[in-house]
């Protein structure tokens, strides 16, 4: 039996790219949210959490309308940046970034909020800059949360199905990720291939989560 490894590679590529982007956006965002005293903060927190409760088909539907060159936003993207997000890998990255956002932001925001104010104050008194405080004092103190947020976002992107089904179009090497390939192979009665993909995803997800719980327990000691 020949197994096509591309769907698995593609899944890990999608999860890696998404997690990297999430770290760049989500980390400062979580810090800002933790310190913000804005009146509309609850509204922003609600928006961030929406992907947790929304059916993936709702998000998929809106993203399809947004990305499609048949509507104004997709048209505008195509004209200005030459970007076609529907049925492309880039589109999946944007979708997964939105979809996995709360998984990264929640634990990190909570950790920032739980840090005693005195840490920052002490560093300020010692003449450290905001940037130094952030990278040398705050970040090292929220390591466990940073780890679980990153890993959860990665693992959650691995398991994404509904959104990809709606905006991916099942293109080999582009949008046929492992979860979609499983669906495909089962439909074709090719249970052997489905088993391989499903088995790998199961094992990787298990190991990733195990590692998080393990490390967090060690950090708690």
């Amino acid at each position: 039996m020949i197994i096509d490894w591309q769907p698995l590679l593609l899944t890990f590529k999608l999860a890696s790219v998404t997690t990297a982007i999430l770290l760049c956006i989500g980390l400062p965002f979580a810090w800002w949210l933790a310190n913000s005293k804005m009146r509309f903060k609850p509204v922003i927190e609600t928006l961030v959490s929406m992907p947790l409760v929304l059916p993936p088909s709702v998000l998929g539907f809106y993203l399809l309308l947004a990305f499609s060159p048949a509507y104004w936003f997709g048209q505008w993207l195509d004209r200005v940046a030459g970007l076609r997000l529907a049925f492309s890998f880039e589109g999946l990255v944007v979708a997964s970034t939105i979809f996995s956002f709360p998984f990264l932001v929640h634990p990190i925001q909570a950790a920032f909020q739980n840090l005693p104010r005195s840490l920052t104050d002490a560093a300020l008194v010692l003449g450290k800059s905001q940037w130094q405080i952030f990278t040398r004092v705050l970040l090292p103190n929220i390591k466990p949360a940073l780890l679980s947020g990153t890993v959860l976002a990665f693992a959650h992107t691995l398991g994404e199905f509904g959104v990809v089904l709606m905006i991916g179009g099942n293109l080999p090497n582009q949008t046929r990720v492992a979860s979609i390939a499983i669906y495909d192979e089962v439909e074709s009665l090719n249970y052997a291939a489905a088993n391989v993909y499903a088995g790998v995803l199961f094992l990787v997800s298990f190991l990733i989560l195990l590692a998080v719980y393990w490390l967090n327990r060690r950090a708690a000691k």
Partner: protein, 253 residues
């Protein structure tokens, strides 16, 4: 730790992007009933022209919607004439729909069910669930309903119907024994990968409208892969391809 993590991510990215560097090839959107015959067609096409063609499989209706929303397919091989015709009229395809084969409807079961009475036999109490492809999206599902009408059993069978996403999902419903009988395509049940799984009978052609399957070259294809797309289009209409279709349970225009 953050440094190590970003180094790791960059390394991973590098590995993945290099391993996915892709070669120029055609992307053909195919109706689900072409699942098995397409492999033979692609192999022969490669032999004749050296061009790789990869398939994206779905129900014809879903493919049409994806194309309207910007899916980058080069050629669309539908299970009917309506979906490709609509795409041509609205400017998503550059050629009018051209029939390349006629699909045949079959009844298929993987249980010990008597199919000799044909569609009328589905009213029997031993048949609890009947799988058909979603008639809104899949031409074979639409014609299955026609056949129920023809034998005047639609009212009796309708409560037993389960709707699959496409004709290939019908196979899965039958294989998992979730449904006793299903309407499928002859091209599916005669495929070597499937042969020997259960038994099937043809639905007599007078019971439904002939399933003329049309093909179009899409806008994306004529913009990005013009020569290869035209070569593929011509190949599908060639004597060699007709021979492959005939061998795989299709009738020819």
């Amino acid at each position: 730790m953050k440094n190590n993590l970003s180094k790791l991510l960059i390394a991973l990215l590098f590995i993945f992007t290099t391993s996915l560097a892709h070669t120029e090839q055609l992307t053909i959107a195919i109706a689900a009933n072409l699942k098995y015959v397409f492999d033979d067609l692609a192999i022969e096409f490669k032999k004749e022209t050296g061009i790789e063609s990869q398939s994206v499989l779905n129900s014809s209706g879903k493919i049409a919607t994806q194309i309207r929303n910007g899916a980058p397919f080069d050629v669309f091989m539908s299970a009917d004439m309506e979906f490709p015709d609509g795409l041509y009229k609205d400017g998503y395809a550059t050629t009018a729909a051209k029939p390349y084969a006629y699909g045949q409807l079959v009844l298929w079961t993987m249980k010990d069910i008597d199919l000799t009475r044909g569609v009328a036999g589905l009213a029997d109490s031993s048949v609890v669930k009947v799988a058909i492809a979603n008639p809104k999206l899949a031409p074979f599902g639409k014609q299955a309903l026609k056949a129920l009408d023809y034998y005047k059993v639609r009212a009796a069978i309708e409560p037993k119907l389960v709707y699959a996403d496409s004709i290939t999902q019908v196979s899965q419903y039958l294989d998992s024994k979730a449904a006793e009988v299903g309407f499928s395509a002859k091209s599916i049940v005669v495929a070597p990968e499937i042969a020997g799984k259960g038994k099937w009978v043809e639905v007599p052609p007078e019971a439904y409208n002939a399933i003329a399957q049309g093909m179009v070259i899409l806008k994306h294809g004529s913009e990005v892969n013009r020569d290869a797309a035209v070569k593929f289009y011509e190949f599908i209409l060639s004597a060699k391809a007709r021979e492959i279709f005939a061998k795989n349970g299709y009738q020819l225009p």
